[in-house]
């Protein structure tokens, strides 16, 4: 199942250095991601896939080109507007988890909701719900240092879903995990995909790519291949355009 375009990029480029030392990390990329589609971006190290993800999420600014999220250009937005966009419409999952060491699992998950101005009670209810969904209800009061790698990444995923984002951007979400933890995270991503959550995942892991609706291969900052998997799309055909499984309850 796919809907209207949620995320689009046109002639998107990000260059570093000058003259002879110019590096084209992302080079003239065009991309459209419809609502509900899960996209896996693969490629060798240094091909620019993480940079592309950061550009799409407004964490970095392009050298030129444009990016639209839900129809709004984000590459020209101010820092303040970008911050608002990230907290309301984008969920990030990082390879290194990036949880706050001093906050418990539930406090980490409610972080984005609190930043978005939700009431503490509502943010907590939502965080508890998401932790239940990722199977960590019994670990809600634990600090990140008391959780395994897989559990930390599941907390990070729950945090990314906190504000019902239009798109979840994941950068090597299984890169720091062992096999067992990778399976847990894969299952979670599959559930998200099945629920119609728009996903863009940068990965080296072919297993993630295998459950995606679409796989893009990158080389030297450009797309080398862009494949859509009808089978996967068919498996999501019953899902609706709006994510509901991980949506705000009540």
């Amino acid at each position: 199942m796919t809907g209207a375009t949620v995320l689009a990029a046109r002639s998107l480029s990000r260059h570093y250095g000058r003259d002879g030392g110019l590096v084209r990390a992302v080079d003239e990329i065009d991309l459209d991601v419809p609502a509900g589609q899960s996209v896996a971006i693969m490629g060798p190290s240094g091909c620019g896939k993480s940079t592309l993800l950061h550009l799409l999420g407004g964490l970095q600014r392009p050298t030129h080109g444009e990016i639209r999220l839900a129809g709004n250009r984000i590459d020209t937005m101010s820092e303040r507007a970008l911050a608002r966009l990230r907290r309301d419409h984008v969920g990030f999952v990082f390879q290194a988890f990036h949880l706050m060491d001093e906050l418990t699992a539930v406090e980490n998950v409610e972080l984005a909701a609190l930043l978005a101005g939700r009431s503490p009670r509502r943010a907590r209810r939502r965080a508890v719900y998401l932790l239940e969904r990722v199977g960590l209800a019994d670990r809600a009061g634990r600090l990140p240092s008391e959780l395994s790698g897989g559990q930390r990444q599941r907390v990070a995923i729950a945090r990314a879903l906190s504000n019902e984002p239009l798109v979840v951007l994941a950068d090597e979400p299984t890169g720091n995990l062992d096999s067992a933890a990778t399976v847990e995270v894969l299952r979670l991503f599959d559930e998200l995909r099945a629920a119609g959550q728009t996903l863009v995942v940068v990965t080296h892991d072919a297993r993630i790519a295998a459950v995606a609706d679409r796989m893009i291969s990158m080389r030297d900052g450009a797309f080398a291949d862009d494949s859509r998997f009808v089978g996967n799309a068919a498996t999501t055909a019953t899902a609706t355009d709006s994510p509901t499984v991980f949506g705000w309850e009540g």
Binding site: A83, H98, D101, A112
Partner: protein
């Protein structure tokens, strides 16, 4: 709004709890400055309250008058019209006065001898603090004078060759206490430092060698105390008029030097605290770079990032102001005691609102000034850069690269650490500059003769200098403690910031010892110009604060100070540097995930 507020408070509390050491260091740095400022302000007008208390207890006069140069009957004639002059509401005296010498414990000093009746006077009734009031053959010594002489009730002293027994000690508000009792140099209008004693009126003529040589003093109360200076118009003779305000002001001047020392010290401390706090804040920001990146990634804007940071420094600043006020108040009695010449107390009352306000403003200014640049940098830094927790690369300077190639490994590492963070190197230099300046100024004070300035050939403790000495000791102690905190914090910041470059150096073959030495060298290099500039700066500071001729300490003192400061810095930095250098390379190279 409530959610964001909760988030700011939660992050604040957790971070303060998590980084207790840094929080304590920051509190110490700012509290030291606010505490010293509190102390300095407590000294301001310190003598006012005790003088008023002494005046009330002794029925002090509004005005004390004495003939300028007349003695004997002429002096009495000069004073006679004043007792009944318009505006005069009461008087005591005239009392005979002689300017003699006193010998006790082998010391011969100038003394003002005043003849008094055994019965208490209506105006100026000296408060007996031990023993009894005057009686024939006995002498009562002004308390501050007795303390300096080391005499007590029952001792025997000599006054111009006459032996007298000390029957008591007392205080008065009619004369400034020792050493400013107003001893007249015979035949001149000048006064010399000296103390005051009282004898029975009938004894004084014998001590002074006859009635003719006696001067007289008259104590007056006035309907309008503010008109005291004009009382001289009531007589045609030349007279000295001393108003109660002048006496109080002279009392106050006894603490002027100490006040100056503490106030200069508080400014030096404010500078040192700012430098130290800036170093600690920079360290905190480095330690939390990834955390800030994460906050930005999940949608915190620059304003929110700044709010999270500043809230911490606001809380720390407020707490430091409170601690400084309390510490300053506790330490105040050491310096603000009224001295033996007055009764009552100063500095034991709660701090004045202006002191509280000044301490608050100082604490917040230090916290704000130290935090501003790192907080702005944190709020505007690139999110991905922050998330990667990447060390700032050194600025490439061709000469520095060429130079470092020729240096031993430890020096090479030290030079490169400072090249990466030139601001931190400058803070380390400022830290050393301020502490060396203070030590040099303290050495200059130590080199002066603190006793011989007073009382001619004899050496007695000078309460003014003693008080100043105590003030300098306190300021120097606090400055040294703060410099110590700063040196440790600076090294700790360097350790945090350099952990990965140092780990890379170790993978390339540098030993832990070389890495540790490199970190220590990074602190020592900026300390050298700090020491070199601090010594002349301290001498200059002392010269500005102390006009007139001064003595200079021997060269060996300066050399010892310079080497001592450098050695102390090396010793303080080597422990955290060695601890950091022993950390496994793999841990440092790995981007610690959370």
């Amino acid at each position: 709004m409530a959610g964001r507020l909760l988030l700011v408070c939660r992050l604040l509390v957790r971070d303060l709890r998590r980084r207790r050491t840094e929080t304590v260091l920051l509190l110490l740095a700012i509290s030291a400055a606010t505490g010293t400022l509190t102390l300095g302000l407590a000294l301001d007008g310190i003598a006012g309250r005790p003088y008023q208390q002494t005046r009330a207890a002794t029925a002090g006069p509004d005005v004390v008058v004495q003939p300028a140069d007349a003695t004997g009957p002429q002096a009495l004639a000069a004073l006679a019209p004043l007792a009944t002059a318009p505006g005069v509401t009461g008087h005591s005296g005239p009392y005979p006065v002689a300017y003699l010498t006193l010998t006790a414990h082998g010391e011969t000093v100038h003394t003002v001898v005043e003849g008094r009746d055994t019965a208490a006077a209506a105006i100026d009734r000296p408060e007996v603090t031990s023993g009894t009031w005057v009686r024939p053959g006995g002498v009562v010594v002004e308390r501050a004078f007795a303390d300096a002489l080391g005499v007590h009730t029952g001792d025997t002293i000599g006054v111009d060759g006459h032996t007298l027994r000390v029957v008591g000690t007392a205080v008065t508000a009619a004369r400034v206490p020792y050493p400013q009792a107003g001893w007249r140099v015979p035949g001149t209008p000048y006064t010399d430092p000296g103390g005051l004693v009282w004898v029975e009126r009938g004894d004084i003529a014998a001590l002074a060698g006859g009635q003719q040589s006696l001067s007289y003093t008259l104590n007056l109360t006035l309907a309008d105390p503010a008109a005291g200076a004009t009382i001289g118009a009531a007589t045609s003779a030349a007279i000295h008029v001393t108003t109660r305000q002048q006496i109080a002001d002279t009392d106050d001047r006894l603490v002027a030097q100490a006040r100056k020392a503490v106030l200069i010290g508080s400014w030096l401390l404010a500078g040192l605290a700012t430098a130290g706090a800036a170093g600690i804040v920079a360290g905190r920001i480095i330690g939390r770079r990834r955390r800030l990146g994460l906050l930005k990634a999940v949608g915190a804007g620059p304003g929110m990032i700044a709010a999270v940071q500043l809230a911490e420094y606001l809380v720390i600043g407020l707490a430091a102001a409170g601690i400084g006020l309390a510490a300053g108040r506790l330490a105040a009695p050491v310096l603000t005691g009224p001295g033996a010449g007055l009764i009552g107390s100063a500095g034991t009352h709660p701090p004045a609102p202006r002191t509280v306000l000044a301490a608050l403003v100082l604490a917040l200014v230090i916290a704000g000034a130290a935090a501003l640049s790192p907080v702005v940098r944190a709020a505007t830094t690139d999110t991905m850069h922050a998330l990667a927790d990447a060390a700032t690369p050194p600025l490439r300077r061709r000469w520095r690269v060429r130079l470092s190639r020729r240096l031993p490994v430890a020096l090479l590492i030290g030079v490169r650490i400072n090249a990466r963070r030139p601001q931190r190197a400058r803070l380390a230099m400022v830290n050393t500059l301020i502490i060396t300046t203070t030590l040099a100024a303290a050495l200059m004070f130590q080199a002066q003769d603190r006793k011989a300035r007073f009382l001619g050939p004899s050496e007695l403790p000078d309460p003014e200098n003693e008080r100043t000495y105590r003030a300098i000791l306190i300021v120097t102690f606090v400055l040294c403690a703060l410099a110590l905190v700063n040196a440790i914090a600076n090294t700790w910041t360097a350790v945090l910031d350099s952990r990965r470059p140092l780990a890379v150096a170790r993978t390339l073959g540098a030993t832990p010892g070389q890495a540790a030495a490199g970190l220590a060298v990074a602190q020592l290099l900026p300390a050298i110009p700090g020491v070199a500039l601090g010594i002349p700066a301290g001498i200059l500071l002392f010269r500005i604060a102390t006009p007139g001729d001064v003595r200079y300490p021997p060269s060996a003192w300066w050399l010892a100070t310079a080497l001592g400061v450098l050695f102390a810095i090396a010793a303080l930095t080597v422990v955290p540097a060695m601890t950091a250098a022993r950390r496994p390379v793999a841990d440092a190279l790995r981007s610690a995930p959370s």
